[in-house]
């Protein structure tokens, strides 16, 4: 315990260690936050995104906070639902089961940019006669534009942006632009209050119709959205525990087993040592990534299977040689001789006497290894071998790359996961470098 507090006292003198430790603590908090707010099953479901999960988010929207930096303010998504606010709907009974329900969906639009899409989602309850809805659009300067006349099924999606007849009526302009543009200056938005008037007509007793209008913006949430309308925040949040767990488990697992093997090799010597060294020579030259690719392709892409293989292959490498040379020194020390004299078995000597002696060297070793494994997960994901269900940072990069994010100017899509990766990597690397200097006094002067 005293040794540990001593290490902390020394760590405080290295600014990079303090920064690294702070980053790691923040990452852990973020990971816990992600696990608590979005449970595993929900995260998987959100990221697989069925038909109805991401209906009301725009495609490829940039993060909303960018508006603070833009001179021309860009729109965020506006959603108006009659089910949320019954006052938007006025129902008049005309007798004989027939009634009108007029829905007035009204919103202020004070942005400089146009929306990216417009859609109306209609729901209706009826037995046999479908309700009818007539929609028109009223601009702030009082123009009335008829939009559509629909007979509504139980669930009806009317995408205003894809209505070709409306495009023709607007003189060839895309509806999301034509409905908002100033007629005298087509590149400019008319600011003010817009109205979508949907006049419903139901033909049965107890039959209802409801509408919701979605004006898809150019910006969304903290992190923006991807090509499938998914909120990137989900993957950024969930990528944190995945990356931390993968990096830490792989680093700890492989360095602990490496150390045990090295200790066994030194203690038993002879053919055990020889075999371990020969296996090490082979594994060091094995191309790690292609083998992982084969495992991912032919067996399982589950992150835990890959993790197991990574640990298995990570046991060998240059680490085992340096541990070996340290253990060779430890083996000669007097207390091992004493242990042998009182009759301690091999297992006891390895685990109780040899390994604890080396633990201080192990800690900086595995802390510096963590980033390599975090990036390995990202590397596999970029190759399209990411975990099939979990959202991770690497999968975001992969999606961004396959959809030409850089080429199309969706920089946020690449920069967000990339900066989280580099921040996490730097945190561990900086802490590891400082720990290395504390535990290896030989380096301290240099």
């Amino acid at each position: 315990m005293k040794g540990l507090s001593n290490v902390f006292r020394q760590l405080r003198t290295y600014p990079s260690a303090v920064a690294g430790l702070t980053i790691i603590v923040l990452m852990v908090i973020l990971a816990i936050y992600a696990l608590v707010t979005i449970p595993y099953s929900e995260a998987v479901q959100l990221w697989r995104g069925g038909d109805n999960v991401w209906l009301e988010t725009p495609r490829n929207a940039r993060p909303a906070w960018l508006n603070y930096f833009y001179k021309d303010k860009m729109p965020e998504t506006i959603v108006l639902r009659t089910t949320d606010d019954p006052s938007l709907k006025t129902t008049v009974d005309l007798g004989g089961g027939v009634s009108t329900s007029d829905m007035l969906l009204e919103f202020d639009y004070n942005y400089d940019g146009f929306p990216t899409e417009l859609a109306v989602f209609l729901t209706a309850e009826y037995d046999s006669a479908r309700p009818n809805v007539t929609m028109k659009w009223i601009t702030p300067d009082g123009r009335e534009i008829p939009i559509a006349d629909l007979s509504v099924r139980a669930q009806e999606t009317y995408r205003i942006s894809q209505d070709t007849r409306l495009v023709r009526r607007l003189g060839g302009a895309q509806p999301e632009i034509g409905l908002f543009a100033d007629p005298t200056n087509p590149g400019k938005v008319v600011k003010g209050t817009y109205q979508l008037v949907a006049e419903g007509l139901v033909f049965e007793e107890g039959s209802t119709v409801d509408a919701s209008l979605v004006v898809y913006g150019q910006l969304h949430g903290l992190a923006g959205t991807d090509h499938r309308r998914r909120d990137i925040t989900v993957a950024l949040l969930w990528g944190t525990p995945v990356a931390l767990a993968f990096g830490l488990v792989a680093a700890v697992g492989s360095s602990l087993t490496t150390m045990m093997l090295a200790a066994a090799a030194v203690w038993f010597g002879g053919w055990v040592d020889w075999v371990i060294r020969r296996i090490n020579e082979v594994v060091m030259i094995l191309p790690l990534l292609p083998i992982l690719i084969m495992v991912g392709l032919f067996y399982s892409r589950s992150i835990w299977v890959i993790l197991g293989v990574v640990i298995l292959l990570g046991i060998f490498g240059s680490g085992i040689l340096s541990y070996r040379s340290m253990f060779l020194q430890v083996k000669e020390s007097g207390y091992i001789e004493a242990a042998r004299a009182y009759g301690a078995g091999s297992g006891r000597i390895i685990f109780r006497y040899m390994i604890p002696k080396i633990v201080p060297v192990l800690i900086p070793g595995f802390v510096t290894q963590v980033p390599a494994y975090v990036f390995l997960e990202a590397t596999l994901s970029v190759l399209g071998l990411g975990d099939p269900v979990l959202p991770t940072w690497g999968k975001l990069l992969n999606d961004a790359h396959t959809n030409g994010a850089l080429f199309n100017g969706y920089f946020y899509w690449v920069l967000e996961p990339a900066s989280l990766l580099i921040i996490a990597g730097l945190g561990f690397a900086m802490l590891g470098f400082a720990l290395d200097r504390i535990f290896n006094p030989r380096l301290r002067g240099l």
Binding site: E281, I291, M294, F298, L321, P371, L426, F428
Partner: protein, 377 residues
């Protein structure tokens, strides 16, 4: 004084042994070469075991044969006259013949050694989906076409990295404690990110924002007419990937090499050389660089192993038409023969890199030359 005595005492037998130093280097190279070859053989065998784990690939190939045969029979007009039973029997016998022809009926252990030989000689038959640019299906042709770009990119990157690393490290050790020195130490942790990661940022800055350099690929489309312009175009496409390779490793390598240099510059014989009044350059070359080179080469070998691993994604990110990109395409198309052969090729490339460095090591390490110490561990 003691130093001089020992060097003098050693120099006489050393001269006598000089005649056999070439033999020692040869022996060392031979031993290392054989070890590496055995390593590659074991590695490829492992790859084959993994690829064929649980007979999975065999099942797939048998399924393909059956499908092919039944398609052929269904398309054949003459088969219309046979009864269903006769057709079944014919189909079964054809499947049987083809399975035997491919040797799929023999036990796996026997075949695995045949696969091993085929793998080592890169005689891996034809790809399932991918074609070479010349239209060939042979895996060997596909790989042959992709090997040159990979070698060009990686060799350039590794050479530039080595020389820039050594000169930066020397410069830093001369200016120990300066701002640049501290900067490189502070930047050393950034090497935990692989090259492709920096590649993304480089593409973002130089291709997307500034538009100075291309997003990826190896040559302009359509390719320029003259050979000179073509090589210029390739050079232009190489700048960003090579830069990414260097950024990803130069800080940590020059940091650790600088530390080696500093350790060796504090030796007594360096002080002695200074006292003799030798120039800084001569001291560096004869007394610092020479004893450090073996250590540096060993550490460079480890760096290169990681660089080769990252090459697959680096090529993918830069759309460089090499083996890495081929691997990625094969993954997307699930082209088993191509994937297995890329594993073989990477095993060869890694072993070759290590072997080349071993030869250089044997040339610069006096222990190998003079037979003074053991082999490296």
């Amino acid at each position: 004084m003691q130093n001089i005595e020992t060097t003098q005492g050693r120099s006489v037998p050393a001269r006598k042994r000089k005649s056999s130093s070439l033999g020692r280097i040869l022996k060392y190279t031979l031993v290392r070469g054989t070890t590496l070859l055995i390593t590659v053989v074991i590695g490829v065998y492992l790859a084959i075991l993994i690829a064929n784990g649980g007979g999975y690939v065999d099942e797939m190939r048998k399924g393909q044969i059956r499908e092919q045969v039944s398609l052929e029979l269904a398309g054949n007009q003459e088969m219309q006259f046979l009864t269903l039973k006769e057709r079944r029997e014919l189909e079964d016998s054809m499947v049987q013949i083809r399975t035997e022809k491919l040797g799929l009926d023999r036990p796996f252990m026997v075949r695995s050694f045949e696969y091993l030989w085929n793998g080592l000689t890169l005689n891996l038959g034809s790809a399932e989906y991918l074609l070479s640019d010349s239209g060939s299906r042979q895996v060997r042709n596909i790989l042959g076409e992709r090997l040159a770009p990979t070698l060009l990119l990686m060799a350039t990157g590794q050479l530039v990295l080595f020389f820039s690393g050594v000169s930066l490290a020397l410069f830093l050790s001369r200016r120990y404690g300066s701002f640049l020195d501290k900067f490189v130490i502070a930047m050393a942790p950034t090497s935990s990110a692989p090259a492709w990661f920096y590649g993304i940022f480089l593409i973002l800055i130089f291709a997307a924002l500034l538009g100075w350099l291309p997003f990826g690929g190896m040559i302009d489309a359509p390719p320029p007419q003259t050979a000179f312009l073509r090589s210029l175009s390739i050079l232009k496409h190489m700048i960003l990937p090579v830069l990414a390779l260097i950024i990803s490793s130069v800080f940590s390598t020059s940091y650790s090499w600088r530390t080696f240099f500093l350790i060796y510059s504090s030796e007594d014989y360096v002080d002695m050389a200074k006292a003799k009044g030798l120039s800084d350059r001569a001291i560096e070359r004869r007394y610092v660089l020479r004893p450090t080179l073996p250590t540096i080469i060993t550490s460079f070998a480890l760096t290169l192993i990681t660089l080769w691993t990252g090459a697959i994604v680096l090529e993918t990110v830069f759309a460089w038409p090499g083996i890495g990109r081929l691997t990625q395409q094969a993954i997307n198309l699930f082209d088993t023969p191509v994937i297995v052969s890329t594993v073989v090729i990477y095993a060869y490339l890694l072993a070759l890199t290590v072997f080349l460095l071993d030869i250089i090591y044997s040339l610069v390490d006096p222990r190998v030359k003079l037979g003074g110490g053991g082999t490296r561990s």
